[in-house]
């Protein structure tokens, strides 16, 4: 049985690369979308050589809505699965003071990904099947002083995915929300992350592949994060606001 294509948005991300490898290893053709997609030429060759599946490159900038339709029209086939790894954290200190910077963070994590996935949601609904995977973050579960600009954008994205899932349930289209905790990637390079709580990109890819197979709705990467977030969410606001976490 030939497998359907998997489209990866934000394909230069370490997590995205791991996801692309995972689906390619299962025999899925791969579509890599990113800004400056031509720089992914080596990754295309790499995946084709390793797994003997076709790989195509597509230009897509989440901050440039005009690029969306060109991206969708350029795809050789409508994908079976689309996975959005686009995200941008910036630094909280900058996000607090620099309004354009904060807007970039909000748009890169929420507006852009939600808009692109809307297009695929409609196409998949029309077709009657498909899987939509959004990589959000545990940072969206509760706003914290150290990370709330990024966190609030992820919260918006998480809510968007949950609504989309609700809308498309029964229409053959499945929506998966991925909530990683810490992951060792370019985004977190140089940060001193606790090893036990930090996943490798490959673990995220495995969690995603399993979620697709088992039709899971919301997945945490490293189960301990589900517990941590349960605790963080349940702290009364009067106490929470005084905490430094």
């Amino acid at each position: 049985m030939t497998k359907g294509p998997v489209l990866i948005l934000g394909a230069r991300s370490d997590i995205a690369r791991a996801v692309a490898h995972r689906f390619a290893a299962m025999g899925h053709p791969i579509q890599l979308a990113a800004r400056n997609a031509t720089t992914l030429a080596q990754d295309k060759v790499d995946i084709e050589l390793r797994y003997d599946v076709p790989v195509t490159l597509h230009e897509c900038d989440a901050l440039d809505p005009a690029s969306y339709s060109a991206c969708v029209d350029g795809l050789p086939d409508l994908p079976e699965i689309v996975c959005c790894a686009i995200g941008y954290m910036g630094t909280q200190a900058e996000n607090e003071r620099d309004v354009p910077m904060a807007q970039t963070v909000l748009r890169s994590n929420f507006e852009g990904p939600a808009s692109i996935l809307s297009i695929f949601a409609n196409l998949f609904e029309e077709r009657g099947f498909g899987t939509i995977i959004g990589i959000s973050s545990v940072a969206g579960e509760r706003g914290r002083a150290t990370n709330y600009v990024y966190g609030s954008a992820k919260a918006g994205f998480t809510a968007f995915l949950s609504g989309l899932r609700n809308r498309l349930a029964g229409k053959g289209v499945h929506v998966i929300t991925v909530l990683p905790g810490f992951v060792a990637t370019q985004m977190t390079q140089g940060m001193d992350l606790p090893a036990r709580l930090t996943a490798q990109p490959e673990e995220v890819a495995t969690a995603i592949a399993n979620a697709v197979r088992r039709k899971r709705n919301v997945v945490y990467v490293r189960p301990i994060w589900q517990l941590i977030m349960l605790i963080i969410r349940s702290i009364p606001e009067a106490i929470f606001k005084k905490l430094k976490i």
Partner: protein
Amino acid sequence: MKLSGWGNFPVHDVAMQTPRVVDEVVSSVHAQDMIARGNGRAYGDSALNTHATVNMCGLNRFIAFDADTGVLTAEAGVILGDVIAAMLPRGWFPWVTPGTKFVTLGGMVAADVHGKNHHGFGSFRHCVEWFDLCDAKGDVRRCSRTQNADLFDWTFGAMGLTGVILRVALRLRPVETGWIRQRTIAASDLGAVMALFETHAAATYSVAWIDCLATGKDLGRSLLMLGEHASAYETPARLRAKTATMRQKRRLRVPALLPGGLLNRLTVRAFNAAYYRWGAHNAGSRIVDWDSYFYPLDAILGWNRIYGRKGFTQFQCVLPETSAHDGLEKILKQTALAGMGSFLAVLKRLGPQDGPFSFPMEGFTLALDFPVSPATTRLIKKLEAITLEHHGRFYLAKDSHMSAETLRASDDRIADFTAMRDQLASTAVFRSEQSKRLKI
């Protein structure tokens, strides 16, 4: 961040960067005082530099494969296991492999690794067509037997001290299946196992596991394991079909750093004795898959943690043929006397010296694992002295304890090596905690 080699000793606080593309590596060289790191499977401090450690694992793309010649070109951070996963189903296997598949191509070049076929094939260098190296000036140089041939030669075994290997073109070996015909022969003592290596010199693969706690007339009792690639004809049909689709096996994972006392004299002795009896009982031929044959330890992820927080070290020396028996006997006696047996005690026949700075030389190599402790430090000093007396030398990929003096006493190639480093202006640029300790 805190970082160590496979032995979890020594631990250094290093600044690590992970480039994703070649240009990022080249610009990092201008930072000066740095070392490349592969997958951290060297035991000691070869791949650590507190100032700048460049993790090459982000540079891990396949670049090209020529199905006519079997030459695979890939970035230096590609993991050997990924090469096997991609190429074995197409009928190709590495010519040379160490005892773990979790090493990078760059790390294999830098240590010029040897496998169970060294006596016949030689070290890793023999299957490398060329590599690209970023030198101390940040220039990328293609090195092969015809282009920058000196640099090509010296880089094998140089442990990252000539520059950063960026890409490697590697010749693979055509195989009909992923199965190995393994033959196990029990040897009652050291002399017997050494003689068996000579009797079976024509075997493609050979390695012996030594019960290093056996004493007296049992000293050096071992299991010799020979291997040949099984042809399609030799492989039962039900196995043949599985080769191409062979999935990663379920792996065990050692959870966290265990208390160091778990491996004590009693458990090690019991394990060694039981293993020998089991092996002797099951001696004979059978067909095993490539993964179990070449990489039995890879089935237990993170097995290095069983030695606990203080970590462990591996002592590996090679002794020339003529003095090997005498020297090995003394090493085994000294080890048994100290009661410091190791789970892993591996003896291997090596072929002729491979290059100007590679570890192997004609003779026998012995590798012993020990938990880090003051007693181990004392024992290693003694084992080093025995090795020197018997004109042997030490494997830098395993070392974490040696002194600069011992290195120089063991190897008359050091002066040439450091002169070459000076000439390349690489002495101040490419440095590891090991090279600082060994003053090379």
